[in-house]
Amino acid sequence: MGRMTFIEHDGTRHEVEIEADKSLMQHAADNMVPGIDADCGGECACGTCHVIVDEQWFGKTGAINSNEKQMLEMTPEGAPTSRLACQIEVTDALDGLVVHLPEFQM
């Protein structure tokens, strides 16, 4: 089974196992990865599941809808490879994925 890595702002790493039919946000929640608040439970409404995807993986994380894009543009710690974790559908193609967590969610 595949694995993914979340790296907290302070460098703490969390490896999680890929489970089918779950978003990246849900993977973080189910594995108690701190630093992803996900206040809206994945409805693309809160912007508190911000992650910065490792550059080499960014292209594999799927399309960004306009709502997500607008929220990301306003995120203080936004980067060119920022995503909302609830909008990333995890498949085996993401085996090895590395994402970084911002210092704060807003």
């Binding site: 189910d30 108690m32 409404a45 306003m74 995120t75």
Partner: protein
């Protein structure tokens, strides 16, 4: 993070009454904060905590199934040794520290968390018990609605609040004829400015939903199933189904009977503590003291339930962190995403960015004596993020500049970051 309970006893039992948004977060936060004793969550809906918001949105539209609503899978609770007990608590004995369940069994607790939420207000009118009259609060409610939903025909919705309007949009999208009857002079009257109400009335009427405001419902008529909704002024509306969404009441009877203070919900301080040092309350059922406004408030939203649950868990672990997070809420209707930040009660001025009377995107900023207190943002995620930032930093904004669309939100945000 690894803070252990102040009492050294590692086997202290924490029982959570209720198994929904607040309970799921509270149990998780307890473990995160180092609670090592048993955690038991007792819920009367039969299953594990699930997401309620999609009930009137994607789930009602048939775009999501029940399994996908679950907040966390059973494996999660097993792994973290959080036990779910299906059942209904009928009494709390605060002296013996035991709970009685409906089946007669008892549960001991050392610490107790009340996450009992709210229940719908029923319409006490003639015909209220006819078939086809529904309420919308639980998964079982919506499964019942979906089973009976007519392929065509007409659904009459009583109540033009968020749940009524979301339900109207979800049904209309499926080609059903929808009429919304609202007692007040405008929809969303209790929660938004007239501009926002008028906007939603326009969007619904463009989608083909009939909205009748200032309309008091007097009776449901029919043989075994509802066939007609009769109004106080004599008008009537044929109906194949009725869905009532006129508000909720806190489930505070259990706490009341146990002698805890009740006032529009279970009274708690900023740490989610009741008067009993061993009992906390969180979520829709809690009426919390807000030191910043000097008032109590009982909110009905997922973010509030989650934030209070985190605070309550910290309190139970002996770490007192006051809850001062910014209230926010969202609502999805058609392709409209409404995101609200702050609380607008007591506003004296509204500033609109964009146009509310045409198109489908604008933001309404609420001010009280020149201070920004809240914002409703429709398909305006950038404005929502700006409002969250302004409000959480207790900053206000220049009204003319906010209303001026020539100034990009990004620029307003950048000015803020540098000036703070």
């Amino acid at each position: 993070m690894s803070h252990s309970p102040s009492q050294s006893d590692e086997n202290q039992v924490c029982v959570i009454i209720g198994a929904s948004h607040a309970a799921a977060q509270l149990a998780t936060s307890l473990r995160q904060q180092g609670w090592s004793g048993p955690i038991r969550m007792i819920g009367d809906e039969g299953g594990l905590p699930y997401q309620r918001p999609p009930l009137s949105k994607a789930f009602l539209c048939g775009e999501k199934d029940a399994d996908s609503l679950i907040i966390r899978p059973s494996a999660f609770y097993e792994k973290h040794e959080i036990e779910f007990i299906p059942g209904r608590v009928t009494a709390i004995d605060r002296v013996a520290k035991t709970l009685t369940l409906a089946d007669g069994s008892e549960q001991h607790y050392d610490k107790l968390a009340l996450c009992t939420g709210t229940r719908v207000i029923r319409l006490p009118i003639q015909g209220a018990n006819l078939g086809g009259v529904h309420y919308l609060r639980t998964l079982a409610d919506v499964e019942g609605i979906r089973r009976e939903l007519p392929d065509s025909g007409r659904v009459v919705i009583i109540g033009g609040g968020y749940i009524g309007l979301e339900t109207a949009a979800s049904l209309r999208k499926q080609g059903i004829d929808v009429v919304v009857l609202e007692m007040a002079e405008r929809v969303l009257q209790r929660v938004t400015a007239p501009e926002v109400s008028a906007f939603y009335q326009r969007m619904h009427s463009e989608a083909g939903v009939t909205i009748e405001t200032g309309t008091m419902v007097a009776a449901f008529e029919g043989e075994e199933r509802v066939e007609r909704v009769v109004c106080a002024d004599g008008r009537f509306y044929p109906a194949d189904m009725v869905i009532v969404g006129i508000g909720v009441r806190p489930n505070s009877e259990l706490a009341d009977a146990a002698g805890l203070e009740i006032d529009n919900g279970i009274v708690v301080d900023e740490y989610c503590q009741t008067q009993d040092p061993d009992i906390v309350a969180a979520g829709d059922c809690a009426n919390q003291w807000d030191p910043r406004s000097g008032q109590r408030r009982r909110l009905e939203s997922v973010p509030n339930a989650v934030e209070q649950a985190k605070t309550a868990a910290a309190t139970l672990c002996g770490e007192k962190i006051p809850q001062i997070s910014l209230p926010w809420f969202w609502s999805d209707q058609y392709d409209l995403k409404l995101q609200m930040a702050g609380l607008n009660q007591g506003y004296d001025q509204v500033v609109i960015r964009g146009t509310a009377d045409s198109g489908c995107s604008f933001a309404a900023f609420y001010f009280q004596q020149g201070q920004l207190i809240a914002a409703d943002c429709i398909n305006r995620a950038p404005e929502f993020m700006l409002a969250k930032k302004l409000l959480s930093q207790k900053q206000t904004a220049d009204m003319t500049r906010l209303a001026d669309e020539a100034i990009p939100v990004k620029q307003l945000m950048a000015e803020l970051t540098t000036s703070s």
